[in-house]
Symmetry: C2
Subunit: 174 residues, 2 copies
């Protein structure tokens, strides 16, 4: 059952926020909690994360910095940033450096967060579909190439038989 859910990672140094996001989303999403960027990296390595949601203000690193790093390593994960102290600089950095998909302010309304996360899941599916289609097309090409090779051998063999016949009509029939 949980396999069909999107996997969301929430990174926040405040355990309460992680817990409340977990409780709000756990029916629809497989929610992983990290209380530091370090824990977040570890979970990204262990699990296939579809959506990563980070607080902007954390002791060691900003959310934008974390999302930037994750972007280059896990480009398929859709990025969301939230903060209770929204300053213009961090939001502009979220666009220009982190290319985040959604920005959310604390405190959020439960429906608002749910709607934003659902939209992120749709975006993940859209990107995934594009990536999968490429795999499917490459697989189809591989199959067709094999078919061409085997048909070419068959044509070659039949032509050889064909030419052999009039010259040596007594050649053994296989």
């Amino acid at each position: 059952m949980a396999k069909n859910k999107h996997c969301l990672l929430i990174v926040d140094d405040e355990p309460n926020v992680c817990d409340s996001v977990h409780d709000l989303l756990r029916r629809e999403f497989h929610v992983l909690k990290a209380h530091s960027a370090e824990e977040g990296y570890q979970l990204m390595q262990q699990e296939e994360v579809h959506i990563v949601m980070s607080d902007q203000r954390m002791p060691q690193i900003t959310g934008v910095e974390l999302l930037c790093r994750l972007k280059s390593r896990y480009p398929q994960a859709v990025r969301m940033l939230f903060t209770g102290f929204a300053d213009l600089e961090s939001v502009i950095a979220a666009i220009n450096q982190g290319h985040v998909f959604q920005f959310i302010r604390k405190p959020w309304q439960p429906e608002e967060l749910l709607a934003a996360v659902r939209q992120a899941a749709l975006e993940y599916d859209r990107l995934e579909l594009v990536a999968r289609e490429r795999e499917v097309l490459l697989g189809e090409i591989e199959g067709l190439k094999n078919r061409v090779t085997s048909l070419e051998s068959e044509v070659h063999r039949l032509r050889a038989d064909d030419h052999a016949d009039p010259v040596a009509p007594s050649s053994p029939v296989l």
Copy 2:
């Protein structure tokens, strides 16, 4: 020569801003100027625009609204927003609704604008490459399918000949 340049559309109700962007970028980019969203739409229809850059504050429509509309109609164009009166709401909307690639504040430093536009051009090329690769793969599949069909006919014809030979050795040779 202009054909190889990326085409950038600047939308701003202040003609001075359009002119200064034009003058700054014209050596590297093919720059189109629109003084209203309406003019912008018209130019988007007439030309293949790669990067669209809009001011947030315009008389009829906000930049975010314009970029949102363009996003659904011309998803391949990379979107940039700029404003001299950056308020948090408009920047958050730029992320959540317009999914803009770069946000720039007026007044900008020429190098800053140039760097942002160059990055947008790279992003356009990246997306274009993905789209083009799909076309190439589909073309390859089409070609391989035709080859399979023609080889199958050839095999069919040769087998028919092959079977015909022993039964009717006097059948006419083509």
